[in-house]
Symmetry: C2
Subunit: 411 residues, 2 copies
């Protein structure tokens, strides 16, 4: 059974797989094309604004606010919910896991990335991940419920401890937010809460390895001041239900163990072509794997000017998504394809209230309150949908200015 | 093990069980007393604003917005999370289900109500309830997921149908909101959504039986215009996974079956004294069961001027909570107790956008847009916490004025 939409059979059919930053940017730009109709496929009917997932995990934002509904967003784009199980690149047909098929003229793979445990024993069973809404919900539940259970004498005090693995932006943001949550919660659980700790583990020599060393140093200093126990050169060798074991033999005991230590592209797509160590598909300078298959975002391995693959971050995905949409439209008007060039607009990470690091380029870096305000403003600007934007803005005013109690539902 | 808080042993200890409208109103008024310290016990660390639960169930509001955190709300009130399993009225000691004990001088039972299936076969297994956040989450998931599953061919079209049992305010509000959701969803599932139906069943002769017959008539007319199939005199005799069977033999086929047909007080407390058919404990004119036990809200059976028990609604609970707090303080200053008198401020129910019924008293009734705006304003006013109030106000502006897509997360 072939799903066919629209009536103009002369139209080309572009199918975008994945409704993250890259896929959505591509579909949005393609939808106005007259010569091409667009289908967007994702397992969820919403775009997850993952940069703010850690605020859902730490009970600052309601989960609804970081999900942008896709079906009603772009009228011209046909949305299909599901997962692609196979691609017949010769017949140009996708097979979905429910058995349905979708034919395409152009296929844009924007399938993102997923967490990886690098095969370290016990991690998959004992650590919580940080990639989906339900992951964030699990973390929030674990963080808040543990206080109730320790207060009730059901769990030992050591279970209040939190350990986060991975010193990238996600790990840093999570560690800062957990530390702030732990401090706030002291008003509620006066007898037990002051005993809770949060530990951040980074396998390499410094936090935020992709940032300038000065940003790393600032971040570690600020987190330490906030009470976070930061360990660098601290590779995890084993996880159990009670603790994490480090390569130097140290044991970190914690009830909530969060794994934010690395992402890889989904291995499912490796059959399509040559991939790098992170399962990322190697593409040509037009972001193509073949004449009709394009790969963008975290799933694509595309070298920067020094030959290293571009980082797995939203700005890369968005620029690539727009680029591919432009190329598909150029080709349809018989123009030649352009080479993709990434315009690096810098990177940033937040540490806590009035504490962040921003790096615009190699010489413009700043930290502290101004960096934090920049972080807030840019995240609001990148949110899809005025509703989510207003709603998060209002929540931030309550959290950061009015300082009201955190969200409470854990059942 | 006795839990003892505070150091002034001359203080009396008032324990309020249940943090609903009544319990919270009582604790709030008692907390400023110098001669008495207050402990509030509830199974959840939040007050659930149940009048808006139907909006969470129909994907209009995020669940966080109708939960008001208790622990941090009133500094002077000690909160204990848990369920009370037993009361020793002689020794004046509560036993919690975790084995801990709490001694009291005054006990205020504000334990609310729960759904009842009246023992009708299959209802407990096949119908969703509407009493807790997780109930609302289940309904929302069922409503939205079914569209996805029908679209994917996993479920037959008939599963899109929704049936709601109970023509009281909850059933009416839910039926209207489901109907509006079904209409909105037509933009997303053009091929299947127009086939979805919603049916409202009431066992008695008219909707909103506690309202004036003119309000009932208006409500039925408006719901019917909105496409809701309203059946009165339609008692359910059996529920299966596929349908509900009525006493006249008719079968209503539906995928989502919601039971909003009646509430009773929790039977757990019947051992304390004489109860009515709805398990409500009969109290004296001071709302007392004995010198040291007070019962308020849904759990109390207190006759109105015509001898009928007061309705199980928030205004009764709030007035009773405040009354009991006042009596406990009066008694401590050796004043005589006052008789509780309910000041009936009327009742209201919303049907849909710009449609509601409001009855202020026996002669002042109104309907339509003005009634709806009154409903909105009063519900905002009754919300605890400025944060939730602002947040819901903002959400209503988006829902009713800007008309943006509904909430989408269903996993």
């Amino acid at each position: 059974m072939l799903i066919e939409f629209g009536e103009q059979s002369t139209q080309k059919h572009a199918v975008v797989v994945g409704a993250g930053f890259g896929g959505l940017a591509c579909a949005k730009k393609l939808r106005k094309s007259r010569s091409c109709r667009v289908t967007l496929i994702d397992r969820n009917p919403y775009q997850l604004f993952s940069p703010l997932l850690y605020q859902v995990a730490t009970a600052s934002l309601p989960e609804d606010d970081i999900a942008f509904p896709i079906r009603t967003a772009y009228r011209e784009v046909q949305f299909v919910r599901g997962e692609v199980s196979n691609v017949d690149t010769t017949a140009k047909i996708l097979t979905m896991s429910n058995g349905k098929t979708v034919s395409y003229d152009d296929l844009v793979l924007a399938v993102g990335s997923e967490g990886t445990t690098y095969g370290i024993p016990g991690v998959a069973e004992n650590c919580l991940q940080m990639k989906s809404v339900s992951d964030a919900r699990e973390i929030r539940r674990s963080l808040l419920r543990t206080y109730e259970d320790v207060e009730d004498g059901l769990l030992p005090l050591e279970r209040l401890n939190v350990v986060i693995v991975g010193g990238g932006p996600t790990g840093v943001e999570l560690a800062g937010a957990v530390s702030e949550l732990q401090r706030e919660i002291q008003r509620e659980f006066e007898h037990i809460a002051p005993k809770a700790t949060v530990t951040l583990l980074e396998a390499g020599p410094r936090l935020l390895p992709s940032f300038h060393p000065k940003s790393s140093k600032y971040t570690q200093k600020k987190l330490t001041q906030m009470g976070v126990q930061v360990h660098v050169d601290a590779a995890v060798t084993e996880a159990t239900s009670r603790s994490l074991r480090l390569k130097d033999g140290k044991e970190i005991i914690a009830g909530t163990k969060i794994w934010a230590a690395g992402v890889v592209a989904p291995p499912h797509w490796k059959f399509l072509g040559e991939t790098d160590r992170g399962n990322r598909i190697k593409v040509n300078s037009n972001l193509q794997l073949s004449d009709s298959i394009w790969v963008i975002g975290d799933a694509a391995s595309y070298p920067d000017s020094e030959g290293r693959p571009l980082p797995m971050i939203a700005p890369v995905a968005i620029q690539q998504g727009k680029h591919v949409a432009r190329q598909i439209r150029r080709r349809e008007s018989s123009k030649s394809l352009e080479v993709f060039k990434y315009r690096d607009k810098g990177q940033m990470a937040t540490i806590g209230r009035r504490k962040a690091v921003v790096e615009m380029n190699s010489w413009l870096r700043f930290q502290g309150s101004l960096a934090w305000l920049t972080w807030l403003a840019l995240h609001l600007a990148y949110l899809s949908g005025g509703r989510n934007r207003t709603s998060i803005f209002a929540d931030w005013i309550w959290n950061y200015i009015v300082w009201t109690p955190r969200r409470t539902i854990t059942d």
